[in-house]
């Protein structure tokens, strides 16, 4: 085995997992220490989108693709105003970015946003470890933060766990704002920001929807104050079992029968609103190559995922819920995890993955059209 701790003038760094395994490497981005839940992402493109996805709040992201930073950083691709990952683990960071849209290097961007990372790590070994042992807490220490590993391990074990974490409010907008419809406005949608990605309102707006993005703390009255044709529940970080306020809010929307669409965290909230449980996956789905079957058509779409929790709903039957019959509409073919829910008697559906796909393939974009159809149907 070979561990390289050299690097172009980079400070030494160490990554310590809560079960005691550690990896040595060199500092990447900001120098210092950071903690979070270690998760791996298998996308080969789209690091800028990943870094700025609020769902990664408090997570230390391990990139399985070895080369990161090749296309630099541009001003168009971020999914939010800041980098949200708690830490970043890569193998071979780019020295010279190359892309006609690149404005600066990723290293510079990480430094300027104070994101502590580590490079030169055997990311495949780390990924295999997380696959076998499950997502767990981790710390990255570089420069002066590097100390005796026993001390570092104790620090990691003091960091908060992801289970039970209520994080939406930390990442969501504090003030409501409006994303205007592209072209003629056909519908108005209230989008509850639980950690929304920038591409989602864009995908809605492209379809003639005026999107009123509301804080995670929005009340039912505030939602209906915008006179929405539909209500949208976004993605976001944290444990869905703690999301009592959004669940209550969604139940209010369901009672009124307003067309409803949820993505990711929004899917878990719909699950809870319907009375299903949620659970933590061993190591989650994070990547842009996941096969999901739309059970209504039998077709398979390749989709972008970022979720550590899932809904526990029966795959083989229609369930009776407080809001009428519900069924699992989408399922991940890799592991049969519930990837979508729909109500059969009310205009509501959700998916666990990311049809807005930034980063990722555009196969699932039809779901936004489905939402539009629901709103059209309600009008008719």
């Amino acid at each position: 085995m070979t561990i390289s701790t050299r690097g172009a003038g980079r400070a030494p760094a160490v990554l310590v997992l809560e079960d005691g395994r550690s990896f040595r490497g060199r500092a990447y981005g900001a120098v210092g220490e950071t903690f979070g839940e270690a998760v791996f992402s298998t996308g080969m493109t789209g690091y800028q989108e990943t870094l700025t996805d609020p769902s990664y709040h408090r997570q230390v992201v391990v990139m399985t693709a070895p080369h990161v930073g090749n296309t630099g950083v541009n001003d168009e691709d971020p999914e939010s105003k800041q980098i949200w990952v708690a830490g970043y683990v890569v193998r071979d960071p780019a020295r010279t970015p190359s892309n006609w849209r690149s404005r600066r290097s990723l290293d510079e961007e990480l430094v300027s946003q104070g994101i502590v990372g580590i490079s030169g790590v055997d990311t495949r070994a780390l990924t295999r470890h997380l696959r076998e042992r499950g997502a767990m807490r981790v710390g990255i220490f570089s420069g002066n933060a590097v100390q005796d590993e026993g001390i570092l391990l104790a620090k990691v074990r003091q960091a908060p766990e992801m289970s039970g974490a209520d994080l939406s409010a930390e990442v969501a907008t504090k003030e409501a704002y409006v994303v205007p419809a592209v072209g003629t406005r056909k519908f108005t949608v209230a989008a509850i920001d639980l950690g929304i990605k920038g591409m989602t309102p864009r995908r809605l707006a492209e379809r003639g929807i005026e999107v009123h993005v509301l804080p995670a703390t929005a009340t039912l009255d505030e939602v209906y104050a915008v006179e929405p044709d539909g209500v949208f529940f976004s993605n976001g970080p944290g444990d869905p079992s703690t999301a009592d306020h959004p669940v209550a809010l969604m139940r209010g929307v369901l009672e009124r029968g307003t067309p409803l669409f949820g993505i990711c965290f929004g899917n878990q909230i719909l699950g809870r609103a319907l009375g299903f449980g949620t659970y933590k996956l061993k190591y989650g789905h994070r990547g842009i190559n996941q096969p999901v079957q739309d059970r209504t058509t039998g077709k398979v779409e390749v989709t972008a995922h970022n979720h550590g929790f899932a809904v526990d709903a029966p795959l083989d039957k229609v369930s009776d819920t407080e809001f009428g019959r519900a069924e699992v509409s989408h399922v991940c073919l890799n592991d049969q995890v519930v990837e979508g829910l729909q109500l059969l008697d009310r205009p509501a559906f959700s998916v666990q993955y990311h049809p807005e796909a930034a980063a990722g393939p555009h196969d699932a974009a039809y779901l936004f059209d489905r939402f539009v159809s629901l709103m059209e149907g309600q009008r008719a």
Partner: protein
């Protein structure tokens, strides 16, 4: 929805002989497809004329027809087998074209055969340039992206000048309409050039029309591999980025997977376009490959082309990702959908996903320009490479350096010592894409070029350029470091430096570097190619090395045999060796061993993860092999390493492996030396009392002259220590001997020239045999059709021998046994003999599997390579006879009288090469091997078998028409009888004056035609070259003159290649062709499967 129930039998068309642009990858794809279809319970009927393929092994299909892939022969097979369906997408362009013509001539309809995998409309939409432009335009209308290169049609010079502006300025491409082979096209960089080229183009074009197209030279180039099923599920299996920008054929480019310099938005845009195209074209089930160009300045995307079939790139993508495209294409063709097919590697997840890589793959092309010295070595959009190597690393630098050393060619690796040369000159040289441009770029960097300068001269993406700078910086550190500390050494290894490279930089021997490295505990680990970046557990041990932290090689209990493959295909070492390695793997697996394959050639069956128990996709250098042996030693017991099946590459490692304590099984390194070293081999022959042609070695002209004077001209001269007859020449007089020595650059006291007596008019014979230390099994005796002096790889041959009698076979057997015993062979040996004046000379012996093993095995229905592998591990011929792997009685020397005759014919790559003036290269055969592949014709009689071999290699022999004959003086006698036969078959003869005179005196009428040098006659009589170009000639016989006459007939032969007219360059080939024409004219040429032949042979043996 499961598989279709209305298809019970499928005809699969293979790709035929290995040619440039259509090579071993189709054996890999075809073998996978046939196995899948068979496993699905379908009756698989296969046609492929190439014997050197696993695909044509009798156990792969139910009925295997080694017959020419022409509509006529395929129709005969369809008539006999009546398959329900035809799968044409796995045999390259050959299969696709054959299927289309069978559709057009109504054969498929007549016999009710359904085309599966692709419909005719989709094939046409994908392949026809104009239709495809329409597809791209339709896609743009739907999704808003993707376009074809802009173009404008012009009829006057004013149109042309105005057209440049609409295309956005210079440079522009000028393409005259309706000219042959793109004549008159070119790049114009300014108005002066444009006026010249377009002016000429307007004149040349019969419709006074030129197409002006925007130039996309220097843009970034990408490929996507896609698959679609009948439910319209589409996945992108792999993205590939070309290191060399637009202008170089992707087969000749260094390519990288996955793409390295695209943002997700740009990548998804390519993906959206690709999916929209596969839908618009209508590839219902199966794969396709789409190529894109991207303007580095603003990201504009141009769709270049698509292939609606399995391709070279799809084989590469399969190996790069672990996603077996051909296998899945075959399943989709019989009705499955992607989500119904499991991912082989994870077993638990479905194939309806997109592989994600946590490593980098680099493919590098292997060229053979040294074989075609007059050919222009500039790389263009016409593919010229003959093979490729692929390497996998955890980063680009590691993969790149591994790929370059996998090429196994002098100078292919980066060199960091010595004077790099002048920066400006190097940068200027790097403008022209050539074999090894990347090395020129590295030297330019060493000479002080900046990243911008490198980009400006090459247009190689700055990210890649920076990676080259990174490599160079580490080399600098290695050179300047006071000592080789562990950190620096580890860093160098992580960026792919070999021990040899580090040794060269530090002034140390390679083995010293290795010792230091091992002492420091710096060793590679082995990671798994798993399609999913470790998200799921992988069950397929498909490994690559990396200098990283954690190894994934699992322990095992069964003893392992490590088989070393043959590396990148090259002329002289091709798919035949892969065939033998694969057979060894199968046989040893059956015998209870764990098989471990090592190879770096992505085109092959051996590097299919299904072939062996474990696959190491690694370079075949001493360092890389030693590390694998080490890793496998830690995993469990090792029974041995096999070096004798992969050609010269592993054979060359034998001694060093043994010296490092590696158990080499089979023929020992000492025995290999006894066969390869001239002195040692001379002693073996002397002891066995066998004659070799007189010979000597010389380091100066005086010495060479003395030897030649003693043994007499003509002599065969060649440098020592070369392969494939490189630099070998027959010298007829002293003057040429002097110039040969003067031109030869590789001569030195340690590398003398070998001078052998050349046996003029001798019959050359090839023997493949097995020897276990006591018993000899004569595998087969092949009689060459061309006389001695033409490289055995380029010569046609027949098995069983057509003119040798029982006495000759007896002598061959005794000689073979004497040599096998004297050398100490345990396994296969190949010996070349020459029979001259009743003396059987030994020309050379190779203590390894030869190029002819697959041919011999198929012709005699005995798996020689499997037997050799077993003998290497200790089995005896007697045991193998008992087991049934070898026949109970007799061998390849005692074939029954009614055994079928098999003819092997070589296929030459002439049409691929042009000299710098754009003229074709000469086609004369010689002692240096230049063929890329071979075909086999098999039938009851020689004439029919020969005719089939010609049809398979070059197109059918003509059965009537005009034959042109022009032969060297020494051939005039032997020409008379075959010429008379041609006349008897109704041919009209044409000849040059000398040949015509001889014919006339023998009572054969021939029209005298003008030589090229005589020019057109006073009354407009055309020269022979003009007649050939006009399509007035159906058969050409043109033998070159012995001395300095290489250029005589050059125009005739190149015209023949250009017009695809059969051209025979030896009188022996003429005699054989006459027998073939005779067979064709007597009609009733049938088809018979190898299984039927084998059944017949086995019955006759028992």
């Amino acid at each position: 929805m499961p598989k279709r129930s209305d298809i019970q039998s499928v005809l699969v068309i293979g790709s035929g002989p290995i040619v440039i642009g259509q090579a071993a990858e189709f054996d890999y794809s075809g073998t996978q497809a046939c196995r899948v279809l068979k496993a699905e319970g379908l009756r698989v009927v296969l046609v492929n004329s190439n014997p050197a393929t696993i695909m044509t092994d009798p156990e792969i299909a139910d009925a295997t027809y080694v017959e020419p892939i022409t509509p006529e022969f395929v129709e005969k097979i369809i008539a006999k087998e009546r398959p329900d369906a035809l799968l044409p997408t796995l045999g390259g362009q050959t299969a696709l074209n054959t299927a289309i013509s069978m559709h057009e001539n109504g054969v498929l309809e007549k016999y009710g055969v359904e085309l599966i995998g692709a419909n005719v409309e989709a094939i046409n939409k994908g392949e026809d340039r104009d239709l495809f432009k329409g597809v791209v335009a339709a896609v743009k209308a739907k999704i808003g992206y993707g376009e074809s290169a802009r173009s404008v049609i012009c009829h006057t010079m004013d149109d042309v000048i105005a057209g440049v502006d609409t295309l956005g300025g210079y440079p522009v491409v000028v393409r005259p309409s309706f000219t042959m082979g793109g004549a008159g096209s070119g790049f114009a960089h300014d108005e002066e050039e444009l006026r010249r080229i377009a002016g000429q183009g307007l004149t040349l074009s019969p419709t006074t029309e030129v197409l002006l197209e925007e130039s996309i030279l220097g843009w970034k180039e990408y490929e996507l591999e896609l698959m679609r099923d009948k439910n319209d599920n589409v996945v992108v299996v792999c993205s590939i980025e070309n290191f060399d920008p637009m202008g170089v054929h992707t087969g000749d480019s260094i390519t990288v997977a996955p793409s390295m310099t695209l943002t997700d938005r740009e990548y998804q845009r390519l993906r959206d376009i690709g999916i929209a195209i596969i839908r618009e074209v209508g590839v219902d089930t199966g794969g396709c490959n789409i190529q894109f160009a991207i303007d580095p300045a603003d990201g504009r995307i141009i769709v270049i082309e698509m292939n609606p079939r399995v391709s070279r790139s799809s084989a590469l993508a399969s190996k790069a990702t672990g996603f077996p495209i051909a296998k899945i294409a075959a399943k989709l063709a019989v009705g499955y959908t992607l989500d119904e097919i499991p991912n082989d590697i994870t077993e638990k997840t479905p194939a309806s996903f997109e592989p994600t890589l946590d490593y980098v793959v680099v493919k590098a092309p292997r060229f053979a320009f040294e074989k075609f010295p007059s050919a222009d070595s500039t790389l263009t959009t016409t593919m010229k490479s003959v093979g490729e190597a692929m390497a996998i690393g955890r980063n680009f630098t590691e993969a790149l350096q591994k790929a370059l050393r996998s090429l196994e060619k002098k100078g292919s690796q980066f060199a960091f010592t010595g004077d790099p040369g002048d920066k400006a000159e190097l940068l200027a040289e790097a403008v022209r894409p050539t074999d090894g441009r990347i090395n020129t770029v590295m030297q330019a960097i060493r000479a002080g070029a900046t990243q911008e300068e490198v980009f400006d001269s090459t247009r190689i993406d700055p990210w890649f350029v920076d990676q080259l700078f990174l490599i160079k910086e580490i080399a600098d550190e290695l050179a300047s470091a006071e000592r080789l500390d562990p950190e620096l050494l580890a860093e160098a290894k992580r960026h792919g430096f070999s021990d040899a490279q580090i040794g060269e930089i530090r002034g140390l021997r390679e083995d010293v570097v290795r010792e230091v490295r091992h002492a420091l505990g710096i060793r590679p680990v082995y990671k798994t190619v798993d399609t999913c970046a470790a998200e799921f557990a992988a069950n397929t041990p498909y490994f690559y090395s990396s200098y990283d932290e954690e190894s994934e090689v699992a322990p095992r209990t069964k003893p392992a045999v490590i088989i070393l493959g043959s590396g990148p295909n090259r002329i002289g070492q091709g798919i035949e060796f892969d065939y033998s390695c694969v057979h060894a793997s199968f046989a040893l697996s059956d015998a209870g061993y764990e098989t471990v394959m090592v190879n770096c050639n992505p085109e092959t069956v051996s590097t299919d993860y299904d072939t062996s128990d474990r696959l190491y996709f690694e370079p075949l250098t001493l360092e890389d092999v030693l590390e694998i042996v080490h890793a496998e030693t830690l995993a469990g017991p090792i029974a041995g390493v096999i070096v004798q099946l992969g050609g010269q590459t592993p054979l060359g490692l034998a001694q060093a492996l043994k010296d490092n304590g590696v158990p080499v099984v089979g023929t020992s390194p000492e025995a290999i030396h006894a066969a390869e070293d001239r002195g040692a081999f001379g002693r073996v022959l002397a002891e066995a009392g066998l004659p070799a042609p007189k010979h000597g070695t010389a380091t100066t002209f005086a010495e060479a002259k003395a030897i030649a004077d003693e043994i007499g001209y003509p002599v065969l001269v060649r440098p020592s220590y070369v392969l494939g007859g490189r630099g070998m020449e027959i010298v007829y007089d002293e003057a040429r001997l002097a110039s040969y020595i003067a031109e030869s650059t590789e001569i030195s006291p340690t590398r003398p020239v070998l001078v052998d007596r050349f046996l003029d008019d001798a019959i050359e014979i090839d023997v493949d045999a097995l020897y276990d230390g006591t018993e000899l099994y004569l595998g087969g005796v092949m009689e060459h059709i061309e006389e001695a002096g033409i490289h055995s790889g380029d010569s046609a041959c027949a098995l069983p021998p057509i003119t040798l009698g029982g006495y000759d076979i007896k002598r061959l057997r005794a000689s073979t046994e004497g040599i096998a015993k004297g050398v100490g062979v345990r396994g296969l040996i190949n010996i070349q003999f020459a029979l001259s004046g009743d003396i059987l000379y030994v020309l050379e012996a190779n203590p390894r599997a030869s190029r002819t093993v697959p041919f011999t095995s198929k012709a005699t229905a005995v798996p020689l390579a499997k037997a050799a592998a077993r003998i290497s591990l200790g089995a005896t011929v007697a045991e193998l006879r008992e087991e049934g792997l070898l026949p109970k009685h007799g061998d390849g020397g005692t074939l029954p009288l009614d055994a079928p005759i098999s003819v092997k014919e070589a296929v030459m790559p002439w049409s691929r090469f042009r000299d710098i003036h754009g003229r074709g290269v000469d086609t004369v055969l010689g002692p240096e091997m230049r063929s890329t592949g071979e075909v086999m014709g098999i039938d009851a009689a020689f004439g029919t078998a020969y005719a089939k071999s010609q049809a398979g290699a070059y197109g059918p022999l003509p059965t009537k028409g005009r034959a042109f004959i022009s032969v060297a003086n020494r051939d005039k006698r032997s020409m008379i009888f075959p010429a008379r036969e041609l006349v008897a078959h109704g041919f009209e003869l044409m000849a040059t004056s000398g040949t015509a005179e001889v014919l006339k005196r023998n009572g054969i009428n021939a029209t005298v035609v003008r030589k090229q040098s005589e020019g057109e006659g006073p009354n407009g009589e055309k020269t022979i070259v003009q007649l050939i170009h006009d399509g007035q000639v159906d058969l050409i016989v043109n033998t070159p003159y012995g001395t300095g006459g290489r250029l005589d007939g050059y125009e005739i032969r190149t015209a023949a290649v250009a017009r695809s007219v059969p051209c025979l360059t030896t009188v022996q080939a003429l005699a054989a062709a006459v027998q073939g024409i005779d067979a064709l004219n007597h009609g009733g040429v049938g088809v018979r499967s190898l299984q039927e032949h084998a059944e017949h042979l086995t019955a006759a043996r028992d």
